[in-house]
Structure formats: C-alpha cells, structure tokens
Amino acid sequence: MAGPALQITGLAKEFAETRALDDVSFEVAPGSVHALLGGNGSGKSTLIKILAGVYEADAGVVSLAGRPIEAAKITPSTARELGLRFVHQDTGVFNELTIAENIALINGFGAGARVPWSQLRRRTVELLERFQIEARPEQPISDLRPADQTMVAIARALEDDGEGLSTLVLDEPTASLPRAEVELLLKAVRQCAAAGQTILFVSHRIDEVLMIADAVTVLRDGRKVFAGEAEGLTEEKLIGEIVGRPLQAVFPRPPAAAETRPPVLEAKGLCGGPVRDASFTVAAGEVVGLAGLLGSGRTELLQMAFGSERVERGGMTLRGKPYSPRSSGEAMRHGVAYVPEHRGTEAAFLDLTLRENLSVADLGRYWHGTFSHRSEKADAGRDIERFAIRAPGDQATFASLSGGNQQKAILARWLRLEPALLLLDEPTHGVDVGARADVFALIDEAVERGLAVLLVSSDFEELARVTDRVLIIRDGCLVSEHRADDLDAQAITELVYAGAVAA
C-alpha cells in the first residue's frame, strides 16, 4: 500500500487559555508500530481523545489510508468507520463472561433473535487463532493471564478488519499490567504489526517504546518536538526530548546530618501490592515528596501507612514505636491523617453540610451527654475563616462548594485532629490556582508546628517547590532520594521516567 496508514495534519485544540495541541502533524506508516510519547500535560491524551471523537478539535485534518476527514468532525462512530480502533488502559472486558461473550457483546451476536452459539463459537475460534491467543471461546476471560486479556480486547477491536486497513490505538496498554506480563503483551503486539497491522502505541514507559516501536513522535507542551525512526534512539535522548533539555544527572543526596530530626514515620522493607522493599523516613516538620508515574505504587505506599492497604512484609515505626495499623481508624488513633486522591468518592460527603463535613472525623469531641451544636458551629466558623473556605455559610450543602473549597475543608477536617503525620495524595488535583496556594500555606503552617507530611503529586513543579526531600518511586521500588533544592520539575520528570539511568 502506498502512503501513510494514518496522517495527522495541523491538529490544534485550545482549552480556555491553554493550548493543549498546537499545529501537530505526523504520519504513521502502514504495518508499523508508531510510539507517541509525552509527559504530563504534553497533549498526548488530548490527541487520543480527538481521534476517538471525545473532544472536538479546533483545526486539523486526520486521514486514514488516504481518506481525509476534518478533525473537528470526528465522532466515535465516524472514527470507527474510518478504521480507527482503540484499546485503552482499562480494556473494558467483563471478567465474569466468557471470551466469546466478551467479543459478541461489543461486536454483535449475529443476526436473528436467537444467539447463534455455534456460529459465535466458530467465529471466536478463528479470531483467537488469528491473534495466536491460546484459549477456548467458552473460557471465562478471568481465566486468562492479564496479557492475554488485553490481547482479547485487541482482537475484539480488530475483528471486522480483515484487510488490515485500520489503525489500532493502544493507549497505555501496559500501565496496569504486572512486569512479567508486559513483555508477553509487547511480543504479541509486535506480532500483530509483523502481520501488517498499523499500531499507534501510547506509553510513558520509554524502555517499552524502544523495545517495540519502529518510529517515535514526542509531544511537549502541545507541540511536536521530535519525530523519527526508533532505531538508534537511546533512553537518554528520548527523556531529553520529553523534558525539553539535555539529560543532566541529578545525584541522590540524603539530607545532611545536621538537618536530620527524629523521624515520625520510619518504614523498613515495606512490601505490599505493587510496592517492593520500600524503606524511608519522614521527620517532624518535614515535607517529603513521593514522585512516580501512575501505577508506580505511590498511592499504595500512602495507604499502607494509613492502614487501608495490606502490608505483606516489612514494618513501620511511628514516633519510635512499632506501627502496624489494620484499619484507618487505628491509623487515626495513632495520629495519622490521609487526604485521598479521589475527593468525590473517597473524602467528600456531598449530601452533608459543610459543617458536618468538617467535624465528621471527630464527632466525639462535641459529645458530653448531649451534642454541643454551639461549639461545633464555633469550630466550623473558625475553620472557614482560617482556611478561607468560600461558602454561603457552614450549613451549605458540600456539593455546592467548588473543588478547591471542598479540598480546603477536607484538609481542615484532618488538621483539626492535630495529626503527627499527614498523608496527601494529589491534594491539588482539580483545585484552582488560588486555592492551591491556600492549601500549601495551611500545610506549611502545620509543618512549622511539627507536622510530618508525605506528599504524592503528579504536578512536579509543585512537588519541587513545596517539599524538603523527594523520593522517586518506579515500578514499586524507591529508586532514589533527593534534596528538593537540587530539583526542578524537569529533573523530577527525568527521574521518574529514567529512574536508575539518571542516577
């Protein structure tokens, strides 16, 4: 076939004031694996969402196998007609159903009112053979190993594409796979390409990209900054393109002896979930950052310290005493507080009032045989003022507050308990700039009084600015530790991508 399988020309998209995509053009050769790389905010996911018809582009043309369409006109169904197929990180398979059912649910059971089971079986066997998946149609999909489950999702997406004219978009397919499965999946994807399938491979794992891709496009700040053959590329070169400057080694530097204070939390050889052998300390009056990619184990590490994720091996001490909380309640009684990543589902009580949200973690303090509404109200008023929470009053429904104000209230809820250790998971996610400053001012105030903070944030600029030390977590391992003075956002990006390479 002549010409590119997928050609993107002049793609642009603006959100409010930010240019998410600025005149991006590249092409993908038929039968090749083309990797799309970029850090947080590079525009990579905006591009995928435009292709999928989720976002409407401002300008640009997308052409598939020589058939052009204005990017603004792509809808999920035109994307499919044109031959774009998507498999996302969440593959959308139904664990309880069989392979055949998983395929038929999306691609149709066949004509007629009755399900033609024998025909469906044959169809599935053929498909499994075509993609070299060793499984039987009637097996529940949960029987398969994770890499094969993803392959079934890929096979499902490509079932109606006999001539291989389509382009398969794999969006972070390995992010939630265990390490051992990744290689299997990459091998299978490579085989697909060898059979003539065009693949656009989106990933933040550079080693994978170098293993699998024929060509690479790198986006940064919405612009294409690199495009070329994968052959001859090095990990350093690609990280340099993602970050936007040549790689500079940032050497791990533990805090100077004079700076060390007695640790509040000390973890030794902590294992559990994806986390492997994590040892670290957080001292009183110190903010320690935890930087890692999605799926690196950063959230699980916080949850282990809060008793909501099981510790398989290793141990912790809190203020010098052995600490192994079995529940959040127990962690709280030891003076540990946790602001989770997903505010709406894990921290906010949207139906309750602001006042009730502020005091929900410590209602006992108002109970002396009768409930003291007066002191609850007084405390609410004080916190609303101190934390600059903007609300019509303390009886306002929590859902009516903005994200930033909700987050301030949740922080206030925890700081009331005067914890010794505060665990923060993406505390400024969905929080406006003004409220962000407030949030950190309040944290600083508490830190000055001796609070220890462990902070996870994927806003690396923020991480470099507000922390004293930063721990880098990669694939569940703490790979290095740095003084925040040595770091900026780009350096942290380098470190989370490259881990040991940069060090």
């Binding site: 989770p340 921290a347 009580f349 139906d351 009730e356 929900v360 409930f371 009053g393 429904t397």
Partner: protein, 333 residues
C-alpha cells in the same frame, strides 16, 4: 435544630420553603377537603382519634425502616420482625404468664437478636440488604405460622396493654403519645448524637466514611439492631391496638405505607435526607388520604393503588431532589 438554623430557614427562598413544608401544607389541604366533603364522618374528633391510633403502629414501623435507610440499607424484614415480636410478647404473657414489663423485654430481645442477625449478614457477609432481609423476612413469617398455626393470641394478655388502644390522655390517644415519645428518642439518636451523624455519613459515602476512620460495619449493624428494637416496640403497640397478637400481621404488605412514608418523608422538612418529622408527616398524609378516600366511598383497591403510587412518587421525587443538589441520581442502595 439550633435556633440559628431555624432562623436561617425562614430567610430561604420560596421554592426552598415549598420543598420543606410542601407536604405539611398538602396534609392540611387533604384534611380541609375531606372535612368539607364529609363534615359528619371525617371531621369528627372520633375519626381523627381513630386515624391517629391506626397510624401509630405504622409510624413506629416507619421509624424502624428509617434507621438502616439512613445508612443506605433497606430492612425489608421490619414487618415480619414486628409480627414475631408481637407473638413473642403475647405468648410470654398468655403461655408463660409473665407480667407486661418482662413480656415487653422478651419482645425487645427478639427484635434486637433479629436486627443483629440482619446487620451481621449485611455488614460482614456483604449480602445485599434487600435480598438478605427478604430472606430473613420469609423465614420469620414461616416461623410465625409454625408457632401460631395461624391463630391469634388473645387470651391471658395484660389488660393494661389491650386497653391502651382506646385509652386517651387529655383527649389524645395513648398510642399516639407513645409514638411521639418513640419518635423523639429516634430523632434524638439520629440527629443529636455522634452515632446518628456517623450513620448519615456512612449512608452518604461509604468509602469516604471508611477512609475517615469511621467503624462502618458496627455502625451498619447497630442501625439494624435499632430497626429490630423499634419493630419490637411497634409489635407490642400492635397488640394494644388490636387487643390480640395476630399472626396475619407480618410481612411486607403491612409495612407498605411505612415504606412510602420514609421515602416521602425524605422529600420534605429536611429535603434529601431521611428525617423523623418528614416521615411522620408523610405517614399521616398517606394515612389521612386513605381514610378520607374510604369515607367518600372509594373501593378498597384504591388504598393499594394509592400506597403503591405514593412509594413510586416519593422515591422518584427524592432522587430528583438529590440530583438537583449533588448532580447524582442514586439514593441509597
């Protein structure tokens, strides 16, 4: 409710006021309309006493339903528990010759044990509350008919209890006074204690409650125990209202008006939340309407249709109110 909050309420906009007091106004309208239609039969002190007495048992049953519902759990077995406790108290008096107070204690123990069982299967075994308590309910109805062979227990009951259905204090039926006392206790527990507030937090966001360190499982179990205890109180009151423990009074149809009341109650007074005053207003709205319809000569099937529709309208309305406030549709689970 503090004085400040009370003052705030009257500053609210008219739509808010309508939402809060709409049902109370509707109850007033229903009373006025039926009084005009049937001045000789409906608008009499005797009729009001009869309505109030009849609804008393249902009112306590609806409060029993309300407790687990605040935590987002549905106790379908309240009707059956009520039946079991009534039979247990009656049997304790009639067969074992126990005086009234120990007999009431027997009923309360039965209620608490059934509630504990429900709570444990829901909170610790992860059974869906509707399915789990439907199972309990079916078992209990079976046990009642095995024990009673379908015959009511009316002999050897405490006279104090069997007369209470016709007793009045200053013209107010005694059963209604008991209902108000029980309602006051439930209101106090649900809104004036840390437990009630935690219960509500669990119902609003279970995961957040867990991550805020609340002991979510014991909280849920306790709400079922409270439901069992309240069902026991309703069961004893039922003996008083009927003068006998009737094994037919068990199961789900008996508590249909109570279900309607709890959900309808959540659309009024404190819209979007299950609350005691709203529940009582709703129950009396439904009960008065049904009684009025009967007096104007509506056929008996009208009651069922009205009760059923009230439940559907109530649940739909409360879901809409919730969506308006929080952008989410689901209420309870």
């Amino acid at each position: 409710m503090s004085a400040e909050a009370g003052a705030r309420r009257f500053k609210a906009d008219p739509l808010d006021l309508l939402e809060r007091f709409g049902l109370l106004i509707l109850l007033g309208i229903v009373i006025v309309v039926f009084s005009l239609l049937r001045p000789d039969t409906f608008a009499t002190a005797a009729n009001f006493r009869s309505i109030v007495t009849t609804l008393s048992v249902g009112a306590v049953a609806s409060l029993a339903l309300m407790m687990p519902l605040i935590a987002g759990r549905f106790d379908v077995s309240v009707g059956a528990t009520l039946g079991v406790c009534a039979i247990a108290a009656a049997a304790a008096m009639s067969k074992s010759g126990l005086p009234l107070v120990p007999a009431i204690l027997v009923a309360l123990i039965f209620g608490a044990v059934i509630g504990l069982f429900n709570g444990v299967i829901v909170a610790y075994l992860g059974v869906s509350s509707i399915i789990g308590t439907l199972g309990t309910s079916t078992v209990l109805v079976g046990l009642i008919s095995a024990y009673s062979k379908g015959t009511p227990i009316s002999e050897g009951l405490s006279r104090t209890l069997t007369d209470i259905g016709i007793e009045t204090v200053a013209g107010i039926p005694a059963l209604f006074i008991i209902t108000l006392l029980v309602a006051a206790v439930v209101w106090y527990v649900a809104t004036q204690t840390p437990y009630g507030r935690r219960l509500e937090a669990v119902g609003v966001n279970m995961r957040a409650a867990k991550l805020t360190g609340l002991p979510t499982r014991p909280i849920v179990v306790l709400s079922f125990v409270a439901a069992g205890l309240l069902a026991a109180v309703a069961g004893v009151m039922q003996i008083g209202a009927q003068g006998a423990a009737d094994p037919q009074v068990a199961g789900i149809t008996f508590i249909l008006p109570a279900i309607a009341a709890v959900f309808l109650g959540a659309t009024t007074w404190k819209p979007g939340r299950f609350n005691v005053p709203g529940t009582l207003i709703a129950l009396f709205f439904v009960g008065t309407t049904v009684s009025g319809l009967a007096l104007v000569g509506a056929a008996p099937w009208v009651t069922d249709v009205f009760n059923g529709s009230a439940i559907i309208v109530a649940i739909a309305l409360s879901a809409q109110f919730r969506r308006r406030r929080t952008g989410e549709l689901e209420i309870g689970s």
